[in-house]
């Protein structure tokens, strides 16, 4: 039986990875109210992209991040210009249907190219190293992932609230029509937001590929976790998304502590309870009054 302290620490650290899954979704929804049902599949695409890099070059998966992130950012930019920008408007069904279609296409493309084999990237000894703090053994890799999640959240918060790009992103989120009057092309801002969101997807995909097995059909379950974290945290709020990821991580950790088969369902139950008690999430966006 694991100690409660152990369960809490593992849960929080797992939440860091979940927050990374969710941040891109939160950003894209926050800026352009676009729900991307293929979000989880793009995380898997990033994982396979990293797999290609480490198969072709003798580099550590962490180095592969340097190649995967620009690749994903470029993909996000082009997809926004070429496809997602055409789905915007008053009818949310259009983006849901099209991104669902994209999800199916991506899964089958990955299946054709990489087969249904499960893969995993090896990061060497860091995966198994741990530090004993009292009675709790803290894995080095989960700590690194959590630190990256924290850094990504802080960076996005800084970009959004302390730079002129962030000013344009927030203004476009507030009123995509009126930004035109000050010379801002909202479709271009959307493409930049999408590129940033996909860059985070790139980070999340590589870190996921080191942490556990992945295959072409893992996307929808990643999407589910991402959605739950975003909604628990409150839509369009980066710190809230990080907390949302930690809540899911903690719930799964406690579930697994009772019985390993309860891990996934425990996360869903806590999500359901939060939705029941605080339908706007724990940190609803306060700016709009």
């Amino acid at each position: 039986m694991r100690s409660v302290a152990d369960i809490i620490v593992q849960g929080i650290l797992l939440g860091g990875l979940y927050a990374l899954f969710a941040t891109g979704l939160s950003l894209v929804f926050g800026v352009m109210r676009l729900v991307n049902l293929a979000h989880g599949d793009f995380i898997v695409v990033a994982a396979f992209a990293a797999f290609c890099v480490v198969s072709a070059l003798p580099v550590h998966p962490f180095v592969a991040i340097l190649a995967v992130v620009p690749f994903m950012a470029g993909l996000g930019y082009l997809l926004q210009i070429g496809l997602f920008n055409r789905l915007l408007g008053n009818n949310p069904l259009r983006s849901l249907l099209v991104t669902f279609g994209v999800s199916v296409i991506l899964q089958n493309m990955l299946l054709m190219i990489f087969s249904a084999d499960t893969r995993r990237l090896s990061a060497g000894s860091i995966e198994t190293q741990s530090v004993d703090v009292g009675a709790v053994a803290i894995g080095v890799y989960p700590v690194v992932v959590f630190a990256i999640a924290l850094a990504v959240t802080m960076t996005l918060q800084w970009v959004f609230y302390s730079t002129s790009l962030g000013q344009r992103l927030r203004a476009t989120s507030d009123d995509p029509e009126i930004v035109g009057l000050v010379g801002i092309n909202h479709l271009r801002v959307f493409a930049i937001a999408s590129a940033i969101g996909f860059a985070v997807i790139g980070v999340a995909g590589v870190l996921m590929a080191v942490r556990g097995n992945f295959d072409p059909f893992l996307g929808p379950s990643r999407l589910l976790v991402a959605f739950e974290a975003v909604i628990i945290g409150g839509l369009g709020n980066f710190w809230g998304t990080l907390v949302g990821g930690i809540v899911i991580g903690l719930a799964q950790s406690f579930g697994a502590g009772i019985d390993p088969s309860y891990q996934t369902i425990a996360g869903h139950i806590v999500f359901f309870l939060v939705l029941l008690l605080w339908p706007d999430g724990l940190f609803p966006k306060v700016a709009h009054q």
Partner: protein, 236 residues
């Protein structure tokens, strides 16, 4: 060549036609007023000119010697025509100062900068860090005008900026128009208040049911003549 020349502008909302064959022109530094009752098509006209309303057909829309009929609003703003929209439409998650400085995005450098806007509206500097939702209507209108001026427009369109504001604030805002015009900026002012419109404009256009029913120099019309065009009683 006038600064703005419009020929045969028609605007639609699905099956409904809101504007019929509008023609108007405006010289450098000139101020015209567009008046008309609620629903006459004044806002649609301004939104069509700046490229926000796209459901339209235009024979000619010429601004600063360029045909702009197919351009997006962001391009038109960068060329020097922008709008203070009806209802102010400030960016709610931005502070007062951010709402002003975002006007720089148009990439037009000129007379108007942050310190000159603060000088024009002395009430704003102390509100700089405040969220715009916590401002009074008059203060919000100052921010909306300041935001538009920060793009250093050659032509500024103002949609009902006096709506819902106290008379003393309306007067203060209209007084500022003189300073704006003093910098060579042309103005199109949309108003329901005829006397307000006549006081600032060189010429007026009166719209009724989406068409121009009266146009000419402000000084040439009596109030009664305008009022009858406004309400559609000239044949009665």
């Amino acid at each position: 060549m006038p600064l703005l020349q419009v020929e045969d502008l028609n605007a639609f909302y699905d099956d409904f036609q809101a504007l019929f064959g509008i023609g108007l022109h405006l010289g450098e530094g000139e101020c015209i007023a567009v008046i008309g009752a609620n629903g006459a098509g004044k806002s649609t006209l301004l939104r069509s000119l700046v490229g926000l309303h796209r459901e339209r057909s235009i024979k000619r829309l010429n601004f600063a010697d360029m045909e702009i009929g197919t351009l997006a609003a962001s391009k038109i703003a960068a060329m020097g025509m922008t709008l203070v929209p009806e209802g102010r439409r400030l960016f709610s998650s931005l502070t007062v100062e951010e709402n002003l400085t975002i006007g720089r995005s148009a990439g037009r450098i000129g007379y108007w900068n942050l310190s000159r806007i603060y000088e024009l509206f002395p009430a704003l500097p102390e509100l700089a860090r405040r969220q715009v939702a916590r401002l009074s209507g008059g203060q919000q209108q100052m921010v909306a005008m300041g935001r538009a001026l920060m793009t250093n427009p050659k032509l500024l369109l103002c949609d009902e900026i006096s709506l819902g504001l106290a008379p003393v604030i309306v007067k203060a805002i209209y007084d500022n128009f003189r300073r704006v015009r003093g910098q060579g900026t042309a103005l199109v002012v949309v108003e329901q208040d005829i006397s307000q419109a006549l006081s600032v404009a060189d010429r007026i256009y009166c719209l009724r049911k989406g068409a121009v029913v009266l146009a000419g120099r402000s000084a040439d019309f009596t109030r009664d003549r305008i009022a009858s065009a406004y309400f559609g009683m000239e044949e009665a």
